[in-house]
Amino acid sequence: MTHDVAVLGGGPAGMAAATEAASHGARTVLLEESPLPGGQVYRALPPGYAGPADADRRAGDALRAALAASGADLRTGCRVWGLGGGPLVPQGAAAAPFTLSALGHDGVPFTITTRALVLCTGTHERIIPFPGWTLPGVIGLAAATILLKVQGVLPGRRIVVAGAGPLLYAVAAKVLAGGGQVAAVVDAATHGEWLRALPALAARPDLLAQGAAWRTRLLAAGVPVIHGAHVTAADGDGVLGRVRVGDRAIDADALCIGHGLVPATEATRTYRARHEHRPQDGGWVPVLDGRQRTSVPLLYAAGDGAGVRGAAAAPAAGRVAARAALDDLGLAHAGSQDAALDRARRAGAAMARMMALRPAMVEAIPPETIVCRCEGVTRAAIDAAAADGAVTINQLKHFTRCGMGPCQGRMCGEAAGALLAAAHGVPIGAVGFATGRIPLRPVPMEAILGAFDYADIPVPAAAPI
């Protein structure tokens, strides 16, 4: 069966997109890696768990309930690794329906064929490397949020929270609420940067009030907040023991650190959609029209994967994408966009600007520090490759294996691109992005091959000499 609309990624954008498409009668399927839809911010608790009331989870529950009632086919716990069809056809052939190859939650492979594809692949965290960042006990801010809000686990007893953006204060407040100790908050942003973000945040008084509550809680607990500063090193004996901020050494058994969010564009890159580098949106993003259409016909992107604007802005964007797909398929005449979208996007944009890559931090990475932790590639190796003539990210991969490990450059790509650009004195956009390739995620060979036997390979008759 060919679906009308497939949605890849069950976060707020994907849940809303699938709900919108299915409720207009389109044959709709939603594919999600986690056991339950929700995404990172609206993530559901594990089955059988109950936790403190949480506004994000309530927002997620509403989206989950609407999705369940919409009639969309929901495939959770599945790993989508293969993309085909669409423009990925032999040269000269007409565009085909999109195909998605996946492993089900039961390990059984399946394929989805769809006329339209809405990509809601979300975002992952940017951590700019520093000496000691590979020590166990150093964890992302978004990762800490999942531990604290979903798993109900403190990352440590005495925790340093560092990096940029509103997650800093969210994580610090959750640590305190969970009974942990925050040794310090190290905020890359200065007071001035926060002040300049305020007018845009005023469009979302709810977020502003939440931010103020977090700050008040830290103040009451006497947590030192160091502004305009960076973690310069982490050290310890096998696991984290100390965090260094310039001359200060702070004892800690966990460091939660993040320097912003990066849109997950592997699917739009694989489909060869046009992209542009927009630091204020998180980095490389697919070029979209006003209705979330990519440059590839019937391929749409919405939510943070199309440019970081936050969970609050994502459902509206997902609905806009779904309506564009319904229009383009001739299934419905959809209305115009949500009024709330622009306001949510404005507040999201102010936060995204604060979380944009800071080139000075990348410049400060010492030569011996590992940048690509999958392949163990240091800054010195990247600089050497640049000196040897690597100009683009793809060339850097060939020279060094940077970005070729199991994470496929998701963790190191941003820093590597910035280092390469700095070495050549060009803007980051000039070094390009890694060509999108399948598999999108590591997948066991046996799952791809099935019951493979060499005897099954059809051998064509030998060509006449």
Partner: protein
């Protein structure tokens, strides 16, 4: 040591085996969270002691938390705890 937050209620604890030692965990929580809760941040040595296996992203992206559960290679952050699992380094 248990770093679980008391305000959460969970299914009754079970025992898993981590590198030959019993570890108390709760069904449904991620294996990565269970190890962090037990203070076991270092999941394995990997290919290089300078970049050992550990939890980093908790959302299935970074591939640093690889472990073997009953011999099968998994991402600890995406794998729910179940009673009796035998966890070894990858």
């Amino acid at each position: 040591m248990d770093q679980r937050i008391a305000a959460f209620s969970r299914p009754a604890a079970v025992t898993i085996t981590v590198r030959g030692r019993p570890v108390v965990a709760h069904p449904g929580e991620s294996l990565a969270a269970a190890l962090v809760a037990a203070g076991l941040w270092r999941f394995g040595e990997g290919d290089d002691p300078a970049r050992p296996r550990t939890a980093v992203c908790m959302m299935g992206v970074c591939q640093q938390c690889l472990l073997r559960v009953d011999g099968r290679l998994v991402q600890a952050c995406l794998t729910p705890v179940a009673a009796g699992q035998v966890v070894t380094p990858a």
